[in-house]
């Protein structure tokens, strides 16, 4: 596939209370950002098991982003701390699966940060586009 045709496929796990609302705000404010991300709404960033991330990356996604509430703002008090603890394990596993560390990102986006959400997505999509397709893509 020629690189100009390549459109990265990004799976985004957004927490119901902050980031999904943030994405919603970006939408209703009509902010432009690339359509490459497929948002999956989850109740909390802390419930995204590393399995889900690795499965997505080895079964066709080019990158995965987890968005949650800022530290201290978690609806469930410490779900996002859990997500942060897992981040390191996920990064180590990317290495074990031969994937670039840039293909995974953990970001905090609050419900009022629509513009920030659009900005993060724009920047992440460009990073992934520069990396090229995932080696696991068939």
């Amino acid at each position: 596939m020629a690189n100009e045709e390549y459109e990265p496929l990004i799976v985004g796990f957004c927490c119901n209370w902050c980031s999904y609302a943030g994405a919603d705000l970006a939408g209703v404010s009509r902010l432009q950002y690339p359509p490459n991300m497929r948002i999956i709404r989850v109740m909390c960033s802390g419930m995204v098991h590393p399995n889900l991330v690795i499965d997505a990356l080895t079964k066709g996604a080019d990158a995965v982003i987890i968005c949650g509430c800022h530290i201290g703002d978690c609806h469930y008090l410490e779900g996002n701390l859990k997500a942060e603890n897992r981040k390191e394990a996920i990064e180590l596993m990317l290495e074990d699966f031969g994937l670039e560390p840039e293909r995974f990102r953990l970001e905090w986006v609050s419900a009022s940060e629509g513009p920030r959400f659009a900005e993060v997505m724009k920047e992440f999509t460009e990073t992934v586009r520069a990396l090229g397709p995932s080696p696991y893509k068939t």
Partner: protein, 317 residues
């Protein structure tokens, strides 16, 4: 009439055959009902006639086929296919047959690299070309038996638990079914768990865990929480034997030897990925996942077949 059994060993050390002998007394009850018609480890039976005069591989028909060992080369593939044709029920015995086993660690490297390492660039022997004459060519990687021919019963373990062989054979003799329930080694482990590691450091298994053998098992703290890398949470149960008579508790074999589980029974469910599950288990009880040495090989030690271990995809430059 006795049930005909054919046994075959492929890419294996022979430990699972010892495990069949290790059945002990129950074997005496089983033997009159079994007739071993083919078993290279015990009997001299040539594939192509006694003097090699035949052209077709000859394995007698049997009701039950037991194969231990994974499939590494063309000959083993041929034998496996022939066994499948001749046997009504096929049992894959041991982790090598079920998941590739220890030899499947080689799946981390392309075949060419292995040839180079062993024959061409070997520092300790005379290097040379890979021998090909009179030797079956290697397949591109180590396969689990299941990837080559359909298998009816899987009995994992390295070596496997003799009790499971008895259970499987008795089930076949009586027409019952045999399945290992989807439980983890932790579900059967009697050690005391507090859901939190005592420290962040991962210890080497050379150091001994804290225990007091004069007290019952549940006075000893979980090895993982003591900081040893124990694969219990992501490994299928089945190795446990009853300790201490009728009212005793089930103790997994490695735990009984005061060693953490090494994961020889393989994943709990088909399709599970123990590497990923284990990494999240390590980080959720508060151990430092970074300290795990050689993660891919260590956490896939017995299960490198079925594409769990493969050469890493080349990174784009």
């Amino acid at each position: 009439m006795a049930v005909k059994v054919a046994e075959e060993w492929l890419n294996i050390c022979g430990g699972c055959e010892v495990s069949i002998l290790d059945i002990g007394e129950p074997l005496l009850d089983l033997l009159p009902e079994l007739e071993f018609v083919h078993m290279p480890v015990l009997m001299d039976h040539k594939y192509f006639g006694q003097t090699g005069e035949n052209t077709e591989m000859e394995i007698p028909e049997a009701d039950v086929g037991i194969i231990s060992g994974g499939v590494r080369n063309e000959k083993e593939k041929h034998v496996a296919e022939e066994m499948r044709k001749k046997c009504n029920t096929l049992i894959s015995l041991g982790s090598c047959a079920c998941f590739g086993g220890i030899p499947a660690l080689a799946n981390m490297f392309p075949l060419e690299d292995l040839y180079h390492k062993v024959y061409k660039d070997c520092k300790t022997t005379d290097s040379g070309e890979t021998p090909t004459e009179n030797l079956p060519p290697l397949l591109d990687r180590v396969y689990a038996l299941e990837e080559v021919v359909p298998v009816d019963i899987n009995i994992p373990g390295c070596p496997t638990n003799p009790d499971l062989i008895v259970k499987a054979l008795s089930a076949l003799l009586t027409g019952g079914s045999f399945e290992i329930p989807e439980r983890s080694v932790c579900d059967e482990c009697p050690l005391k768990r507090e859901k939190k590691a005592s420290g962040g450091e991962i210890k080497r298994t050379l150091d001994s865990p804290e225990f007091d053998q004069s007290k019952p098992w549940d006075n000893t703290r979980c090895f993982m929480e003591q900081g040893y890398l124990c694969l219990g949470p992501v490994t299928l149960a089945g190795c446990s034997n009853k300790e201490g008579g009728e009212n005793g508790v089930m103790v997994p074999r490695c735990i009984k030897g005061l060693m953490p589980c090494r994961g020889c029974f393989g994943p709990i469910r088909k399709g599970a990925n123990p590497l990923v599950d284990m990494m999240s288990a390590i980080s959720s009880i508060g151990l430092d996942a970074k300290q795990v040495p050689d993660r891919r090989a260590l956490l896939n030690r017995y299960i490198g077949g079925q594409n769990r271990l493969r050469p890493l995809p080349a990174r784009p430059k």
